[in-house]
Symmetry: C2
Subunit: 221 residues, 2 copies
DNA sequence: TCGCGAGTGGAACACCCCGTCCGTTTCGGC
DNA sequence: GCCGAAACGGACGGGGTGTTCCACTCGCGA
């Protein structure tokens, strides 16, 4: 960690940026990340590192040279999704109609979780020590807290709704599993619509998104 | 399996009932089950068998002699909870007010899941090959299907509610985690109240159970 | 073209888990 | 008390996973 501290940092970097990698190494790194994102989305983050390496066509050592630990790989793999998530929150907060903004952010974040099983794990509790995520998350929650207040004042959101309810709904949504990604997304959509109905200040009796067959027994993705 | 088929089954049994065990063996068996229930409720069913054995004060071999596989231990540990769950369903189906029956069963099953993390796993997807549970489950789902129809006809339940929604709500409820069992139960209670509001045919604006602080970051049970 | 160091993959290490074997201990009928 | 069978626990095998070692390869500047 503390080596090379006196040398000029121009040439020797602890973790070289992708641009300074040798061409084959950069290709491998890109391929690893791409494979990791796909496989994490499909099967969650419990896939063995070996499997990621195998599907990326590299050996375990190569994987570990670029990402010194599994947590590092997961963090890097979900960086852009986290950014997208934050952008979503920012857009919602900027919406002139706070209640519509809140509904939209709930819908979209829930959809992201339904589409990417690994993202859910990374988001909810996977690596508490991944400070990157925790910081952004607390910032987002703070922004959402303001949005909630404004949505109440605007009369769209029930007055007894609190920030913890939002967290609760996201967690609950992530508990829904189905036999395929499509089914999970569809189920999540109906679930969220049900949610929004119950947290709305005004009665709303429009039709719900269609129900989805949920086996509950086995073969859940 | 097919040994001793001609002998009188009075004395030699493949798996001796607890009464026919030697006193020390029976004590050990009881202690193992008790420990398993406690530890499964606290930490889920992913605890190693060794840990169960250690906390029961026996060796791994003793544990495996009584419960030849981990699945057998889990099945046995949750047998009475499964029975309680089925009794709950039966009571709900027998309720003269089907909508009240449905509400009650949702509330109570959700509470059971919040209280016992291992039960959730055993219930939702843990061992698909545990035929014991699967059979009872399908029977219960069938009974609930009738209850749902009657609750709709009675005017309490929304007409667009289907059995899969019930499954979905149970799954969603099991996604809620908190820092302690008490917090999980409280959060689940509020969640279910929110649910019932959204699936009710009639608007209902009574107060909700209190909200619960949900960290979302780490240290979730 | 050449050389060197970054890069690589396969084997290996360390650890954890489920489930089994076997020599020893203990219950309980006589 | 005696003694045989039931019961016991520590050690072991097999498999899986995160991570590292090491001899070899190969991109790329000179």
């Amino acid at each position: 960690m503390t080596e090379h501290q006196s040398e000029a940092a121009a040439t020797t970097v602890a973790t070289p940026s992708p641009h300074e990698l040798r061409s084959d190494a950069r290709d491998n790194r890109d391929r690893i990340l791409q494979v990791a994102r796909t496989i994490f989305a499909e099967e969650g983050i419990d896939v063995p590192m070996r499997e990621v390496a195998r599907r990326a066509g590299v050996g375990p050592a190569t994987l570990y040279r670029r990402f010194p630990t599994k947590e590092a790989l997961v963090t890097e793999a979900f960086r852009e999704q986290m950014a997208a998530c934050n952008a979503l929150v920012d857009a919602a907060v900027a919406d002139p109609d706070p209640w519509r903004g809140l509904r939209t952010v709930i819908e979209q974040v829930s959809a992201m979780h339904a589409e990417d099983r690994g993202f859910t794990a990374a988001f909810v509790s996977a690596f508490p020590q991944a400070v990157d995520f925790a910081q952004e998350r607390s910032r987002a929650l703070q922004a959402l807290s303001g949005l909630i207040r404004r949505a109440k004042d605007a009369g769209g959101l029930r007055r007894d709704f609190v920030l913890d309810d939002l967290v609760m709904l996201i967690m609950a949504n992530s508990g829904i599993r189905a036999t395929s990604r499509e089914a999970a997304v569809a189920a999540s959509r109906r679930f969220v619509a049900l949610q929004l109905r119950s947290i709305s200040a005004r009665p709303n009796d429009g039709p719900l998104p269609p129900a989805v067959r949920l086996p509950l027994l086995a073969a859940l993705r």
